[in-house]
Amino acid sequence: MGSSGDNNDGLAFQSGGQSVVNCQSSGMGGNPFFASAWDPVVSISQHENFGGSSMLSQSELTNSPYPVVMENQGISTTSHLVHYQSGSSYVELVPKFPSYGSGSFSEMVSSFGLNECGQIANTGCHPNYTTNKEANIERTIANSAESQEDHQLTEEPITGASPDGKKRKRVGESNSSYDPNKNAEGERLKDPSGHSSDVQKEQDEKKPRTEQNSGANLRGKQSAKQAKNNSHSGEAPNENYIHVRARRGQATNSHSLAERVRREKISERMRLLQELVPGCNKITGKAVMLDEIINYVQSLQQQVEFLSMKLATVNPELSNDIEKILSKDILHPRGSNAALMGFVPGMNAHPYSHGIFPASIPVISNANPQFPSVPHTTLDNDLQSLFPNGI
């Protein structure tokens, strides 16, 4: 996925020859001018920010819809790209050129002929969505040409040519700004058919999610700009809203969906753990919760060590009969013992909440039934009781 998505960046980034090869393999048919029209515009505008070569800007532009690729390339320019969200149309259209004008693109790459295309760019710049139609045409051309690349532009759901369900998802999700209607179609087409991908599990989870998302996103995502989690929300088609691309470090939408699912799983597990670990009801936040969990596990392990030390020093009066009696007693504690057992969890909580106790301090408090209710004094008493026990 990343490697195939890298084709875009490979064009911009790596050796020109390599990019040319990639371009040629993809096949052309689109409008080289159209494709290249955007390129100089954005590169010009981005020159100020990056001060890099136009190739760099191109790559960064291509990166905007492909945060995964961005990560691979190690470019951290999304922050800059945020500025261009309003002009998302050309930002998104930019990645198309690799598939189309390979010849012209190679020229672009090699010569950075901004001046030549500048005029063309100006003319083609303004209509954000009217160009979508042309974009769609090009997309259909691209679809036939490129069936392998995990490409944003290949809007396979429309043509139904995609063999890769995973790709389809990306197309649907990331093409949000191109054409709302088509995107919706894409998503709908995606849902029943996306089965063939490598990550089937992700897909199965993503399928219902895309449905939800398309529904939810259609209601409008003005806040999408701010929320990192809403990177997937950009997938929904809606002409009235500015579509926000994934922020820095975010994967493409299919990835972000999977991440979102993962995150929810993790938070669900954290909730379960919260119930297990005593005294963690008020804690919100993964970091603090994890700290508590770590402390608790450590304290439990220390308790086990200490108990095994105690058991080792106990006089061996065991026999098989006693074992049976003992097991019955342990598993079905009688009344008096039950009180102790009930007391134990309370005692457990106290030493734990006070922090990790060194193993030498006996956490066992019910060895001293005389002091059932005072945690602190029982500790001292337990120490005293431990020594007569056998050490």
Binding site: R269, K286, S308, T313, I330, P333
Partner: protein
């Protein structure tokens, strides 16, 4: 409470009973093997044996479906093999191979998970939970939850036994 009802109530109670039985049996065995320890070294040895027995019986009671129980059993087996001094090298290699392949496979996923939560904490948790090195965060949390449950049971039972013996 009749035993049948008790054990069928919830899985943790049967875990408890399984652990109790196994642990008591191994305790008896340990006590029979050596005389009562008088010097600290013997006490320490015994303590270590008791602890190993407790861990082993806990892992067995937890079942082999859990990663941590399998990892714990592997660790114990490795330790005993090492002490046994190359008695069955092939077995050891197999065990180690199993662990390393799992680790290698899961490491890639691990990298991406590190961004999520604090890396230090995740790595600490990995060290605490047996077999946690080769798991992604999601399953690590899952295993940790089960491990905590079992540890609780273990502590309860051991405390009870110690209590009975001391009183």
């Amino acid at each position: 409470m009749n035993p049948d009802h008790h054990s069928s109530l919830n899985p943790s109670s049967s875990l408890k009973s399984r652990f109790t039985k196994t642990f008591l049996r191994s305790l008896i065995k340990i006590n029979k093997q050596r005389p009562f320890p008088y010097c600290p070294r013997e006490i320490f040895q015994r303590c270590h044996r008791v602890k190993t027995a407790a861990d082993k019986s806990l892992a067995r009671a937890a079942g082999s479906r859990r990663v941590w129980s399998r990892a714990m059993l592997c660790k114990i087996r490795n330790r005993s093999l090492r002490r046994g001094c190359q008695q069955r090298p092939s077995v050891r290699r197999i065990i180690i191979g199993y662990q390393t392949t799992k680790k290698g496979y899961c490491l890639q996923k691990k990298m991406s998970d590190d961004q999520e939560v604090g890396t230090d904490q995740a790595s600490k948790l990995r060290k605490l939970v047996p077999g946690g090195e080769a798991m992604d965060l999601c399953s690590l949390l899952d295993e940790a939850a089960h491990y905590i449950k079992c540890l609780n049971t273990q502590v309860q039972v051991m405390r009870r036994i110690a209590d009975i013996h001391s009183s």
